[in-house]
């Protein structure tokens, strides 16, 4: 079907791919796994001849005997969408926001002259029905912003498969989605591939996803394929050290022991947070949306508490309320006995509580040096301490960064290092509680394992408590003592992490756990010997 032979790629003379060779058989699901920068997306873009400017490809990409690299742009245009379809990670930006979904799906047919306008609409309706969006439920004249993330990804899939291409490339198709939605989208892709007999190139960073989906897997690292084999053989043999390393990192459990004490630190009682929606009438008050509904929980000193939920469940709203950033409409929050209110003078309470955000790229003012960024919480003190510089250096050292990091700018650091800097900033005033809002979600698995180790180590050394907010069940399982499961603004299950994961009580928790992709237990046997590689 597709035969890539010794593909190499340079962008502005920087080598990106070296000697990549892959064979994808007809009707097969081929998993391409690697961390960011490993060249997996570039391989896909080379197949589509959609490379960035200044890119030069060598080698051959044969599709049914025809070398795609030798085709002209006009020939490629004819081929794209008809023979090869592609789905992208972020469905919101992959769809045109000012065109209806029906028109977008129909466009592919029109562009390739396969149907006239009326017929194209009909095919579009069929395709959308096939991906689970029947026009009766979701009319063709809807716009992308009116759909949920999962529905948008379904539209992208309908768009990519409208002409029944022989090869479908899916580049991180579920990374931006919730676990339950991810499970549905993966099932849909699998069904489409089986029904239509097309091949699927599934690009992902998640080993568990390919384990459940792919027939054949290739692992990439810095522009090379380090190992490729049928899925089962790859997981059971793991011949390349990098594969073992990746596997160990994804299963990584930091070495930590519970140190929770019975003393309550953060107490949340009957918390309610309402949002005003857009008003319908000038004379009636606008309707309210209850984002957090009667939430109560206690976090004890030294405890690591997880808060799990899918997007829109209210966990971010809850976090903002706890941090005193937004006013609440009912209930109370107390940190170490002091009540928290938004807007009031909260400096004393904030000293005891700091936060680490998800996005390592957006969390820092690009114009400040690292030392100044890390020193920002000193603002919570009445006066800047005399030993400010020494304390900044100590915080940087705590997170394993060199002392000279302080004089550099944030763009000089990688994502993992930036997250360390964010932790250093949170540690500066030695707070009791650190709120980790999806703090490791944007990181590659090996970096994530390192940050989890760091968090476990800091907790033991500095007597910290964590409120760990995440959608990623594996991470929560690794780092928390107790877990809260949130759905639609309410906490529906609460209990020790081990118990909740082993024997969930609420049906939603069960669905959540079942939806999370897992590497089959039989394949996971004994790779512990290699875990020290991380």
């Amino acid at each position: 079907m597709i035969d890539i032979r010794a593909l190499s790629l340079t962008i502005h003379d920087t080598p990106v791919l070296h000697d990549v060779s892959l064979q994808i058989a007809p009707g097969e699901v081929f998993g391409l796994v690697g961390e960011s920068g490993s060249g997996k997306s570039m391989t896909a873009l080379a197949m589509m001849q959609l490379l960035p400017q200044g890119a030069r490809a060598g080698g051959r990409i044969l599709m049914q005997g025809e070398d795609l690299l030798a085709l002209s742009e006009a020939q490629m245009c004819d081929l794209r969408g008809r023979e090869i379809g592609m789905i992208f990670q972020e469905p919101m930006t992959a769809l045109n926001p000012v065109q209806t979904i029906g028109d977008q799906v129909a466009e592919t047919l029109l562009v390739h002259g396969r149907a006239h306008r009326r017929a194209a609409r009909e095919v579009a309706a069929q395709m959308l029905t096939r991906v689970g969006l029947p026009p009766a439920d979701v009319p063709l004249d809807r716009y992308p912003h009116e759909l949920s993330g999962g529905q948008r990804q379904r539209v992208s899939i309908a768009l990519a498969t409208a002409l029944r291409p022989r090869l479908l490339i899916a580049d991180e198709p579920t990374t931006a989605l919730d676990v339950t939605t991810q499970a549905q989208i993966l099932a849909l892709l699998k069904g489409l591939v089986a029904d239509e007999g097309m091949s699927l190139l599934l690009i992902t960073h998640d080993l568990a996803v390919v384990a459940g989906m792919a027939d054949h897997v290739a692992v990439m690292q810095s522009g090379r394929v380090v190992e490729q084999a049928p899925t089962k053989r790859l997981f059971t043999a793991m011949r390349a050290p990098y594969t073992r390393q990746l596997f160990a990192a994804s299963q990584h459990q930091p070495d930590r022991r519970p140190m929770a004490t019975p003393t309550p630190l953060l107490v949340v009682e009957n918390l309610r947070r309402d949002y005003r929606l857009a008003g319908i009438s000038l004379f009636r008050p606008p309707p309210l949306f209850r984002a957090v509904n009667d939430v109560s929980f206690t976090l004890h000193k030294g405890e690591s508490l997880g808060l799990v939920g899918e997007s829109g469940c209210g966990k971010s709203t809850l976090t903002r309320a706890i941090l005193g950033l937004d006013p609440v409409q009912g209930g109370r929050i107390a940190l170490d006995g002091h009540e928290i209110h938004a807007g009031r003078n909260m400096r004393a309470q904030r000293r005891g509580m700091q936060v680490v955000f998800q996005d390592p790229y957006g969390s820092f003012d690009p114009r400040w040096t690292v030392a100044r960024l890390v020193a920002e919480p000193f603002h919570l003190l009445d006066a800047r301490p005399r030993d400010a510089a020494a304390r900044v250096t100590r915080a940087l050292k705590d997170v394993g960064l060199p002392a000279d990091a302080g004089s550099r700018y944030i763009f000089e650091f990688s994502g993992g290092q930036r997250q360390r800097i964010a932790i250093a900033r949170a540690l500066l005033l030695r707070p009791d509680l650190i709120v980790l809002d999806e703090a490791v979600s944007a990181l590659d698995v090996s970096i994530r394992a390192q940050i989890l180790d760091l968090l476990a180590d800091l907790q033991a050394r500095l007597d910290l408590s964590y409120l760990f907010i995440s959608h990623d069940l594996n991470v929560v399982r690794a780092i928390t003592d107790r877990v809260l499961v949130m759905k639609a603004g309410a906490i529906i299950e609460e209990g020790p992490t081990a118990r909740v994961f082993a024997a969930p009580r609420h049906p939603y928790t069960k669905t959540l756990l079942k939806a999370a992709p897992q590497i089959p237990a039989a394949w996971r046997k004994d790779h512990h010997a290699s875990e020290n590689l991380v």
């Binding site: 400096r347 936060v355 969390s363 820092f364 003012d365 114009r367 920002e376 603002h379």
Partner: protein
């Protein structure tokens, strides 16, 4: 990094006029306040490089002093716009959605609703024509432009995590606005500044043309154009030269603004690379 061609060309054009204006403080070929009727309407060349007007004044000297007038008016007018508009915009962004935001932005709309030159004529008609009144009139119309641009840019910065981190560090809106927001919207303001600068020069020329800008004997490009109108057939260069000066100065600033946008806007930079 390679600078875009338009930035270099625009900056060179503007620098040419700025240097001429600076030079006019210490030296001009002839005194622009002395009328030598005997030498009226001299052709270019000879003792007068670009000839003389109907009062026998040296055109080159008048253009140099006129550049000074235009640039001074534009600098002060843009200064008023930035000095008042940017704090208002930052304030509105810091209290987005509040009554203050609403009052400031609707006030802006009110000023936007009137054609700027008509109001400038009104102001100068009421308070008497002078360069100072022209500056104030042009300056007032720069305020909403900068308020709106800085509010829009600031709103997108307010959503970023590092602002949240600063709030968790207990910083108040005012401090965040000046420490985090302002430095990060500076590039937008610089670009808008150069464009408003060129509009200021254009507005000054327009007001002077109708006699409401700088008053005689201070030379100004706009009034040179107006004076030349009656002699457009006998001495067309008297109209062409100040006209050309206005066109080139405005073109230079606009090119510079576009070029600066390309250099300063990281999103465009990524595309170019």
């Amino acid at each position: 990094m390679r600078l875009p061609f338009q930035l270099v060309l625009g900056a060179a054009l503007f620098a040419f006029f700025a240097l001429a204006a600076l030079l006019s403080f210490v030296w001009t070929p002839h005194d622009v306040t002395v009328l030598t009727i005997a030498d009226k309407l001299q052709p270019p060349g000879g003792p007068y490089l670009l000839g003389t007007d109907h009062f026998g004044r040296d055109v080159l000297s008048m253009l140099m002093v006129g550049a000074r007038t235009s640039i001074a008016v534009a600098i002060v007018a843009v200064g008023i716009g930035i000095g008042l508009g940017v704090p208002l915009g930052l304030w509105a962004a810091a209290h987005r959605g509040s009554l203050w935001d609403e009052i400031i932005m609707r006030g802006n709309d009110l000023i936007f609703a009137f054609p700027s030159l008509v109001i400038a004529i009104l102001i100068t008609a009421v308070f008497g024509p002078s360069a100072v009144n022209a500056i104030i009139a042009i300056g007032i119309f720069n305020i909403p432009v900068f308020a709106r641009v800085s509010r829009g840019a600031a709103l997108s910065i307010w959503t970023l995590d590092y602002i949240l981190a600063a709030r968790v560090a207990g910083k108040r809106a005012l401090r965040i606005s000046f420490e985090h927001i302002l430095p990060n919207i500076l590039n937008v303001l610089i670009v808008q500044g150069t464009i408003q600068f060129s509009l200021g020069i254009l507005a000054e020329a327009g007001l002077s043309y109708v006699g409401l800008g700088a008053q005689p004997p201070t030379p100004s490009w706009g009034r040179m154009l107006a004076d030349a109108q009656t002699m457009i057939y006998t001495a067309p260069r008297l109209a062409i030269l100040p006209g050309l000066a206005i066109v080139l100065a405005v073109l230079g600033l606009n090119l510079m603004g576009d070029g600066l946008r390309d250099v300063l806007d990281p999103r465009l930079r990524r595309v170019r690379r």
